[in-house]
């Protein structure tokens, strides 16, 4: 199952569906990095609103995505983590370390805009 990736200005937005398998996540990692290079994106948003469960693999892969994209000079923001999922994550000890997070797509875009402004 492919994860749809939209381009909005200089930002790439990947919207994850609920029934995402490990292979799908790895595909997403590859696709995002390719597209960041192709479009010289200034930022990436991964929308996990529909994700029913965030386990250690998903968390690890999101960290990898964030690090790989940072190497291209762009920040990644994870948005839309559901309250129940966040609760389960912290109990498992998954904190997404230093990846910025925001409540939803709107907040994520605002964050990227603010970050871009503070850099310039």
């Amino acid at each position: 199952m492919q994860v749809p990736i939209l381009k909005q200005g200089g930002v790439l937005i990947a919207t994850i569906q609920a029934a995402l398998s490990d292979a799908d996540l790895l595909e997403l990692r590859t696709a995002l990095v390719q597209q960041v290079v192709r479009y010289r994106s200034s930022g990436v948003i991964v929308d996990v609103t529909a994700m029913d469960v965030m386990d250690s693999f998903a968390s690890r892969t999101l960290l990898e995505i964030s690090h790989m994209i940072r190497l291209r000079g762009a920040p990644t923001v994870i948005v839309g983590i559901q309250p129940e999922v966040a609760f389960a994550m912290v109990q498992l000890g998954l904190t997404l370390e230093d990846i910025p997070t925001a409540l939803d797509l709107e907040e994520g875009l605002a964050y990227l805009k603010q970050k871009a402004r503070s850099i310039n």
Binding site: D22, A23, V53, P83, V85, A88, Q91
Partner: protein, 134 residues
């Protein structure tokens, strides 16, 4: 009384099936959305271990009705793969056998009320976890 549900785990798609069914059964048993998410997360970890280390195995969901009318859910994740040589080490927080976050067993134990693991090198692994309704 609800019957057991068995899910064969042989690919990462089965991991998704297992956690979705686990969530559904948890909700049916009476757990809240929060608790069902915890249970689904634990199942995801265990099922993935099966795929990663044993190629195939099965996850069984067993709704429970204990003494005094308590309700709960037991999940058994079993495989006949290579087994875990040192279970104590695997249960120690931070232990990793394949880089990254390892087997996630300490995390799974934290999420559930009861946790049991039987495993030894060469004879497969069976993890049994249980959560009770408060």
């Amino acid at each position: 009384m609800a019957a057991d549900t068995q899910i064969l785990i042989a690919s990462d798609k089965d991991v998704v099936t297992a956690r979705q069914q686990g969530r559904a059964v948890a909700l049916q048993t009476g757990f809240s959305v929060s608790e069902a998410t915890l249970i689904a997360t634990a199942i995801s970890e265990l099922a993935r271990n099966i795929v990663s280390y044993a190629n195939q195995g099965r996850v069984t969901l067993k709704p429970l009705h204990g003494p005094n009318g308590a309700s709960g859910l037991t999940i058994v994740a079993s495989d006949s793969g290579p087994g875990i040589a040192d279970v104590t080490l695997a249960l120690r927080d931070g232990y990793s056998s394949s880089g990254g976050l390892g087997l996630g067993l300490p995390g799974v134990r934290r999420l559930m009320d009861e946790f049991d693991i039987v495993s030894s090198a060469g004879s497969g692994t069976t993890v049994t976890i249980t959560k009770w309704l408060p």
